[in-house]
């Protein structure tokens, strides 16, 4: 768990507060996305958690420990850290990169090796092929996967991610985000994610903290942020298409009737989200879609009214 209490950061004494009396609780095993316009203090907030920046005032408790009372170097070894540019070490192989923190912690070689292979498997890369290669030989997406694997190497309870998918092309980004969400479901980490991409925040965050001028304007689930923006700033920030964005939080199975549709209606997969289902309806110029499972068997129907009622 991460607990920030009345945290303020001024980079110059008596200057303006970059983070202003901010309080935030990230419950154990959940992901919080910090989002807001540039200069809102989201990155500063995150960097205070592993003390890359020291707070001017307030308290930050990570797993029951006040971070200002522990050695920052030791603290960081137990907090995973992923940055946009990944920052893989170009002179080390992939195996050495992933093993960096275990090595700092003095793990035995066999344990590190086993863990490295486990992690490559987790992020969907082939260990036999990857371990001996150098970062330059990898694609952007592969590098970011290695970055995530490296951050998870010593199994830290907390993970900080600074725009982790920002430098990846849009198609690969969506796939990587989906994979990452599945990884998180398996490893259960307390995650703070900084992003300026609302779709990313919706896709990955259990909660979204929308920030403005060093303060949190709204801290809520994606559903609540999109359906009940706290004020005009949030409403404007989440955009005019917030209702459509919100549909991506639900899958077809949430709105499906078991009634059997007329034959010949267009189909949608059971696992698709409602935003895609609506897009299919618009494309097919139809009020109803047949819902099919992986094998193609019809399971029921989803109607426009059902989607609108979500």
């Amino acid at each position: 768990m991460i607990n920030m209490e009345h945290v303020t950061k001024r980079f110059v004494a008596d200057g303006p507060a970059s983070v202003d009396d901010l309080s935030l609780v990230v419950p154990e095993g959940t992901t919080t996305a910090l989002i807001g316009p540039s200069g809102c203090g989201k990155t500063t907030t995150m960097r205070m958690i592993n003390r890359l920046i020291d707070p001017s005032e307030g308290k930050i408790i990570v797993n029951g420990e006040d971070v200002t009372k522990v050695d920052p170097v030791e603290l960081r070894r137990h907090i995973g850290y992923v940055i946009q540019q990944v920052g893989l070490f170009p002179h080390m192989t992939i195996a050495q990169n992933i093993a960096a923190v275990p090595k700092l912690l003095g793990w035995a070689e066999t344990r590190t090796k086993k863990r490295t292979e486990e992690l490559l498997d987790l992020v969907g890369l082939d260990a036999g092929e990857m371990l001996k290669r150098y970062p330059r030989q990898l694609s952007g997406g592969q590098r970011q996967r290695i970055g995530v694997a490296r951050a998870l190497a010593a199994d830290p309870p907390v993970l900080l991610m600074d725009e982790p998918f920002g430098a990846i092309d849009p198609i690969a980004r969506t796939r990587l985000q989906d994979e990452f969400r599945q990884i998180l479901q398996r490893v259960r980490k307390t995650v703070v994610l900084v992003t300026h991409d609302l779709d990313e925040a919706i896709r990955l965050g259990d909660r979204i903290a929308i920030m403005k001028s060093g303060k949190i304007v709204q801290y809520d689930t994606p559903d609540a942020v999109l359906s009940r923006p706290a004020d005009a700033f949030v409403e404007n920030f989440v955009g005019i298409d917030r209702a459509i964005k919100r549909l991506s939080l639900f899958t077809v199975s949430d709105a499906m009737n078991v009634a059997s549709p007329r034959s010949g209606t267009s189909t949608v997969a059971l696992t698709s989200n409602l935003r895609d289902a609506l897009a299919l309806m618009v494309a097919a110029n139809s009020d109803v879609l047949a819902v099919v499972d992986e094998s193609g068997a019809v399971k029921g129907e989803v109607t426009r009214d059902a989607i609108f009622a979500v």
Binding site: V73, R76, L88, F89, P90, A100, Y134, R136, G147, L160
Partner: protein, 213 residues
């Protein structure tokens, strides 16, 4: 004229090899000293802004002094002979080694440094495990430049009695004997070219894995 020079070498082999040996020892020892001073100094100043500023400026000033002047200054300070020449050549070799190493250490990929600090490396570990290995190619390039400079600069050592292949050039000039001059000049040119070429190949070989696309 080249043949005359070549024949002279064949006839005076002991004399030639002694001068060649002197030249190589003088250059090698100076280069070793310059590396032993320059590399640790670069590492020492990299995290100390004020000191770095002072050292870099002194070194830059040093760089503007012509090689001959550095050698000449040694004479009143240290007298004549091999050692004053070595000191002078060390001073000559120091700037490229130190500046390259410093810039290499300073300009290491900032993302790698950020990641290293973020994962819990101490300052010393960031230097040892990240900065120094990543700056190694720059350091090597500095040493390569310095090696060629020293080999060429050692030609001037005879002015303060340092010996080496430059002796033949000095004698050649004073006796207006062009073939004798070539006995010094051609081997020096060959030495410098070979060194540049070999070290260039070595650089490619050692640091190949990082540049593979």
């Amino acid at each position: 004229m080249l043949m005359t020079a070549f024949n002279w070498i064949i006839d005076h082999q002991p004399e030639f090899y002694q001068a060649l040996g002197q030249h190589l020892i003088m250059s090698g020892v100076s280069l070793a000293f310059a590396l032993a001073i320059g590399l640790p100094l670069a590492i020492l100043i990299i995290n100390r802004g004020g000191l770095a500023f002072a050292v870099i400026n002194i070194i830059n000033a040093l760089r503007t002094i012509p090689s001959l002047a550095i050698l000449a200054i040694m004479m009143p300070l240290l007298g004549i002979g091999l050692w004053p020449s070595i000191v002078a050549l060390t001073i000559l070799a120091l700037p490229p080694i130190l500046l390259n190493a410093f810039i290499g250490l300073r300009d290491v990929d900032p993302d790698a440094v950020e990641a290293a600090i973020g994962m819990g490396m101490s300052r010393g570990q960031v230097l040892r495990k990240i900065r120094v290995p990543l700056a190694a190619p720059a350091m090597f390039a500095g040493a390569r430049t310095a090696a060629v400079q020293v080999l060429a600069g050692a030609t001037l050592a005879p002015f303060i009695g340092g010996g080496g292949l430059g002796d033949f050039i000095a004698v050649g000039i004073s006796m207006m004997d062009m073939s004798r001059l070539l006995v010094g000049a051609v081997p020096i040119a060959l030495l410098a070219l070979t060194t540049e070429f070999t070290l260039g190949l070595a650089e490619k070989f050692f640091f190949a894995e990082r540049s593979t696309a």
